[in-house]
Subunit: 388 residues, 2 copies
């Protein structure tokens, strides 16, 4: 049987759960209920693409002391038996009358005292991956136990990556970097964007990704308007800028960075904006420090662009990264999250070449005590040129 080896030693998971339990104690939370792929994988090491099926809910409960308990569909029992968890309760899902709810209620009532509080992530950038009606039924079933917001408990722990996690993300960045280096062999004037997307995904796989959870991009004369579209059949044209952005996955850890390519020589306007984006990224890499706020990074990037006479793009200019493609915080003017040592972050400045013509630049880094350490291979200062 060709089984995947364990991704981390048990001590890695014990450390994660210990840190969650410290946060829980500080916030008066007696157990955490986690339901999303990222939270579930973080605590258990249970890695599968089966989340793609919306049919079944999956639960892991982290008690204030001791090890987590999984309450899962029986189809996952075998894979879960290879993780560090020793308490696994299963039911045959999907069950039209009781899809794990009574088993979950029973588990929670056994773990949380009647006067206790159950934490459930319910804040910004979270969702609850179970049917809402079943959540209501569960909440009624555990009365008088109280349900409180577990968002901060989870985020303050997950946002600080261990060295083992940083090495996973660095490896994924390396895979994507090697695939980006091959784009000049894959893309040229006349090739449809949809074919470029397919060839680029193959390159990412060939370079060692387990799978490709995200590829987006665009191509347009002197820039693009939109960075989240699937590819169309139109061929690349001379004068286009091609942007490819990827979330490759190795061992459950993502990268998230893009690269831009000029189809034939880049125009003067594109070169000006490219230079500004590259330089403000250099500046940010040089001055990022723990203790800054997320909004400070937005200011550093947008002010640096404005000082160069370039109009910054709208939206956030970077974010967290790890066991999902994007994590908090967000580099926006409004996000006052503190940057902390061990955070893995993206810098993602965008700027306008002309109305409706944008360029976006992106790098991945880990924040050390002394500043930023790049995880993605640094983008070249000049935009690489594709054959015409």
């Amino acid at each position: 049987m060709a089984e995947a080896p364990s991704l981390f030693p048990v001590a890695e998971f014990e450390g994660r759960v210990g840190r969650l339990q410290t946060e829980m104690a500080e916030r008066g939370i007696d157990a955490l209920l986690l339901t999303t792929p990222a939270d579930f994988f973080y605590v258990t090491g249970f890695l599968t693409r089966f989340w793609e099926s919306p049919a079944r809910p999956w639960f892991v409960v982290v008690p204030i002391a001791g090890t987590p308990i999984a309450v899962i569909p029986s189809i996952g029992a075998e894979l879960m038996s290879r993780t560090w968890l020793r308490q696994v309760r299963t039911w045959d899902a999907p069950h039209p009358e009781d899809d794990g709810v009574s088993l979950l209620i029973d588990t929670l009532c056994g773990l949380v005292p009647e006067t206790g509080r159950l934490g459930v992530p319910m804040g910004l950038e979270t969702h609850l991956r179970m049917p809402l009606a079943d959540f209501t039924r569960m909440a009624e079933g555990i009365v008088p136990r109280e349900i409180v917001d577990g968002t901060a408990t989870v985020q303050r722990v997950r946002e600080i990556k261990s060295e083992a996690e940083i090495e996973k993300i660095r490896a994924t960045c390396g895979v994507a970097g090697r695939a980006f280096a091959r784009v000049p062999e894959l893309a040229a004037q006349g090739r449809p964007l949809s074919e470029v997307f397919r060839a680029f995904q193959c390159a990412i796989l060939e370079e060692g990704a387990d799978w490709v959870s995200y590829v987006a991009g665009a191509a347009g004369a002197d820039g693009y308007t939109d960075v989240i579209s699937p590819a169309g059949p139109a061929p690349l044209e001379a004068g286009d800028v091609l942007m490819l952005d990827t979330g490759a996955v190795c061992d459950g850890y993502y990268c998230d960075f893009d690269r831009n390519y000029a189809v034939g020589p880049a125009s003067a306007a594109v070169r000006t904006v490219q230079a500004a984006l590259w330089e403000v990224t250099e500046e940010a890499l040089a001055i990022l420090k723990p203790g800054m706020l997320a909004c400070d990074v937005h200011w550093i990037l947008s002010d640096g662009l404005a000082r160069r006479g370039v109009q910054p793009g709208a939206g956030r200019l970077g974010h967290g990264l790890g066991v999902s493609l994007t994590e908090w915080p967000s580099f926006t003017p409004l996000d006052r999250s503190e940057l902390r040592e061990g955070m893995v972050l993206t810098l993602e400045p965008g700027a306008w070449v002309a109305p409706g013509r944008m360029l976006v630049h992106e790098e991945n880094l880990v924040l050390r005590a002394g500043g930023a350490e790049l995880l993605s291979p640094r983008a070249p200062e000049q935009m690489p040129e594709l054959p015409t």
Copy 2:
């Protein structure tokens, strides 16, 4: 600008919304709030992989009359402008204080009378893709309007595929079928399963998939225990059965079927179970009819296996398929959903070769008035052999 063309004519979306509105009227629902990728794509045609980022919620509201209104992060405005929707309201997300909630409340209060009811899918196989605390805030913000379960409203419409949808799924099945036909060139004794998975994903892309949302599988002597694992590094061995299962995606539509391969000659035990699985699938394909219940299909498959002296696998033996990898109903003993003309379904019988050694067979079909029409190229009666 290399834009993706519209996937369907506007009349396709008008038909979908009209059918939703008919169901809403019958159930006394004045507006539907949809938040998941599948529901959102179904109503709007807005196709993006950006859902991979959990950072932002996306809303579409279907009123009892007229066209849907999208309430979305501004990063999606450009892509949404290429859909058939004409009412699009945006905010700059993620916003730490108000991530679209007041805009959503304002939209709902303008559409739903104070005595009216808002439908939200909250039943089996659904979840709410927005922060739970924001849902609570929204529910309070639209009082005295009532929130009711919109699951059946959505499922009774989405489960009946239009001819245009059936052709999309057939095309995706064709792509996967061509990739499966190439597996004997990609996999052989001695090749690590992880490399086989990568090469198979490349083959799916090369054959025309836009992306590969799901690949799972396993390899083991005379069968496998687990069908949802990622691949490990162990090489294929003579006597193994290799199973690959895929959810490829073309134009937002999935296939979901697997294929089995013997590494060298299959054992007599494997040949016996393979024959039984192939034959019960033939039987089911011959007798499936609208009006049967989902549990009837479970019985047809499991009884057919038992009559051949083979022990059926646990869990569901098939399910719906379409704009997500799996949809309702489930072929379990408990699911009494009626099978209806136009449903696209999988038949997925599994059976035990020995304890811990399973085979799973899978096909995709559309249910016509006269019976099943295959969408996947039928699996060969004999398991194909890989080189040793």
